[in-house]
Symmetry: C2
């Protein structure tokens, strides 16, 4: 249940999943759905272009293979991809903790 609104952090998700083990697009979508416990149920039109973008940026490479008559494009991280991953992990941590600080509320108008 739920779907949209993972604004801007998609790259991090994709890099993290593929870093754990190389995967093809369709499998990435499934993994994202199961790991997030159904929170992230991304349409193909979101994921495929994003993978292309990441490859074009030099973070992923891909290999074509054929499994039971279906062609697959399997992605894996480059060295730059690993660097980008740890960088984006870090900036996610900073971002989410900053969100936490803001959402917690003003400290001083109610301080006695």
């Amino acid at each position: 249940m739920r779907g949209q609104a993972l604004k801007g952090h998609l790259d991090l998700l994709l890099l993290a999943i593929i870093a754990d083990s190389p995967k093809h697009g369709y499998a990435v979508i499934e993994e994202l759905r199961t790991r997030s416990e159904e929170s992230f149920d991304l349409p193909e039109g979101t994921v495929y272009p994003a993978l292309h973008r990441l490859q074009k940026a030099g973070f992923l490479t891909s290999e074509w293979s054929e499994v039971q008559g279906r062609r697959r494009r399997t992605y894996l991280l480059t060295k730059h991809g690993h660097a980008a991953l740890s960088e984006q992990r870090q900036s996610w941590d900073e971002f989410s903790s900053a969100m936490g600080r803001v959402l917690k509320g003003a400290p001083w108008p109610s301080t006695p």
Copy 2:
């Protein structure tokens, strides 16, 4: 240090800050900077249009005033604004914990 990339969650931040106490745009920017400990240093071109958007959506109302020769537009939450805030808080929680689950890594490939 740092600035860009708070993708999509700006509305929540603005609603949360104004909910705590009504503020004008410039003050919102300052509050955002201090609460986040410099993580969020948003340009006016980001914040002002967002406030207009939120008002147009019925989440905020505004009042003009003049303080020492400077005109201010002070925003405060409507009933819908409060509803939107708690809704968006909730979906942020869900979002960030889903991010956490995904980033934590696959549970089964290393399970003995």
